[in-house]
Symmetry: none
Subunit: 419 residues, 2 copies
């Protein structure tokens, strides 16, 4: 089956936002063996919407549309759909109840504009939107299906997962593309490529490899095409086992794993608690940990010690050390970690102190210089990193590197316990 | 003049990369008054390329193409262009010398594949590529112009700046599109729309309004077309002043302003320091503040008090209050804010305590229930919010709402000082 993706709205055409929705949808469709052949962005113009949808619906098996469904006046998609499919707008009672419920819970009055979002063409299948007021609408003509969804990413994604993917899967038969993501950290892309080049050359013919780098990880994606899912899965697992023996310390997870979730698993396994003492990462480690539900089971919290006063008064770092070695130093970061562990009464603590930039650099300590320390029940270890990117990247990389340091320590302890 | 952007290549269609080229090109064109009406991504297929280019060239004044010019075999754009424009490929001597020079400097042998990149259709204008081997090609038919460029962003951007933008400017005369973004918070989209509907109706004819919602803000974008930049800017400012009088408290900034940067400005103005005591936001407020360079001038840090023990031991919240009212309560959040201000010796402190979800809800306190408190030098105030989205959204909205609460207090104090 082939597919087209259509994005409606001025934001993309004027370059104000980058079209991440289409990339996400393309990935999801690819995962279920549907091949995206065209991606189009157009404006909110009625004629443009009508003509483009009409052409795409004729040409493709699947047409997925995002955007153009908001309550305000610049959204005309629903009217264009009515003309195209000879439909009339009617009120969809379950959607109206859903919208009324959302407003009632927030203690807000339901406006006419919002009630209008419950209007849908009378010949579409209405797809419930768990994360917002505008529902999605599915049209079918025997040959092709078309779905119009809101453009807000977290609404669109929920509708895709709940309704659209299952619907397409039901129609697409037995060709399978199986993707497996391997999350790595600690090796730059070119080093990683060199280290695993032989493994890559020896991959089976129906398997391809892609590198997907981000500040959080370099993700390796193995994609295998075939018809027997369990066979493909077994073969993929075999390749992963080989890869593990080549870069055992660099693989921290698979698929949707994040460094924080991997650390969480290891902490939960030994029922251990963690605290943080963040300077240059300014709360980012805590944020990465707490974005996962259930984080209170292993994370107690900690200090964002952005000023030196806080480091001294709250974390009991020696003022002398700060004056002698500077706040960005091994002595200070190790004291931060050890004292955070003791003050917050946890088993482990992570501390960071560095120069995120663009200001604050010295000759000896350029932008991107970051000290990271991990306190364990027994001792404190520290590492010096030199990232040297922009501020945002330095902060995120420092936070992930700190979690990775803890991960490797927890893994080592686990191995030691076993032997 | 109107324009279309065409991207050729498999990477975008399988979702492996996000199409940032098109957003960049759209911004550049917009800045010189060219309106992008369509953005299309297609694969490397010969027929697809030929048909799509042919249609776009008929329909638009300007067609800018990226990708499909690499040295490997899956790039067939040049052959499609030859068929479309009745041309033959010839060797472009200056380009061949340029390529040979690049290879010589790297000490590499010039391969036949790379030499082929110097071949161009014999009726195009060749645009020099300072950052790579493949040149860009410009075609013209009196009515429309079309440029085919390599897809590597830093090659494409150099060609755009060196050749394409000046070429288009030469043809487009003096038409200008001016965009101004107004950042709002605190009114849901439909309420905002209703409140400003009369203002919107009375906007000048050459000005249009778009709503761009996100968890951080609802951004209003005013776009005005004209020929006299300073006149347009003045008129836009006039509209903004009118809008300010309608929703004075909801506008927190313009263009790239974020809530954290606005709060930063207000704190810096009065040379005041801020601390945080975060429970449900788990470090996100600190993260939003510290992602801005120079944040140490007004932000000292604070506590991520995820566990109740930390709230009691570090923030001196009364254990009785936690037992009696719960951690998510007005009493606890106010104590957190007041004590954080005193412990960290700042002028202001923000505290949050809530149920981010999906676990932790009770009958009285559903997911999304969040208490926010702000301590000022004089007193402590608090607010109850009920967000009720998913975890990620609840955390981010709570963090931004907390900063917004502080912003409004700082603004009020500023007004009081003036009078």
């Amino acid at each position: 089956m082939n597919a087209a993706i259509l994005t409606i709205g001025e934001e993309i055409l004027i370059g104000q936002i980058v079209d991440t929705n289409s990339a996400w949808i393309a990935t999801e469709l690819n995962n279920i063996g549907v091949s995206v052949r065209r991606i189009v962005s157009i404006s909110d113009s009625y004629e443009e919407i009508k003509n483009t949808i009409s052409k795409l619906f004729n040409e493709f098996d699947i047409v997925l549309i995002t955007g153009g469904l908001g309550p305000t006046n610049d959204d005309v998609t629903k009217h264009a759909l009515c003309e195209l499919f000879n439909a009339e707008l009617i009120v969809h009672k379950p959607t109206l109840d859903h919208i009324a419920g959302i407003f009632a819970r927030r203690g807000l009055l339901l406006t006419e504009l919002n009630a209008k979002q419950a209007e849908v063409p009378n010949n579409c299948k209405v797809l419930f939107n768990p994360n917002g007021t505008a529902p999605a609408m599915l049209f079918e003509n025997g040959k092709s299906i078309m779905v119009s969804m809101p453009g807000v990413p977290y609404e669109m994604k929920a509708i895709m997962k709940l309704h659209v993917i299952p619907e397409i899967k039901g129609k697409n038969g037995t060709r399978v593309v199986y993707h497996k993501n391997i999350q790595t950290f600690g090796l730059p892309e070119s080093f990683l490529a060199e280290k695993i080049s032989e493994w890559e050359r020896n991959l089976p013919e129906n398997t391809s490899l892609a590198y997907l780098p981000s500040p959080n990880s370099i993700r390796l994606r193995l994609s295998t095409i075939g018809s027997d899912t369990s066979l493909i899965k077994n073969n993929t697992q075999l390749q992963i086992e080989k890869l593990k023996s080549i870069i055992p310390n660099n693989i921290f997870g698979f698929d949707d794993d994040t460094m924080a979730r991997t650390v969480a698993r290891l902490l939960l396994e030994k029922n251990a608690k963690l605290a943080v003492a963040e300077s240059c990462t300014g709360g980012t480690i805590a944020q990465l940990l707490t974005e996962n539900s259930g984080s209170s089971e292993y994370f107690v919290g900690g200090i964002v010690a952005y000023s030196n006063e806080l480091k001294v008064e709250q974390l009991r770092v020696s003022n002398n050390d700060i004056e002698k070695f500077g706040a960005v130093s091994q002595q200070v970061v190790e004291a931060m970690a050890a004292n955070a562990r003791d003050i917050f009464k946890t088993h482990y603590a992570i501390a960071t102190s560095g120069i995120a930039g663009p200001t604050g650099a010295t000759k000896e300590k350029p932008v991107g210089t970051v000290w990271i320390a991990v306190a364990t029940p027994q001792n404190v270890v520290s590492e010096l990193h030199t990232f040297g990117g922009d501020r945002e990247r330095n902060i995120l990389r420092s936070a992930v590197a700190a979690l990775n340091m803890l991960r490797l320590i927890l893994l080592e302890e686990k191995m030691a316990e076993k032997t």
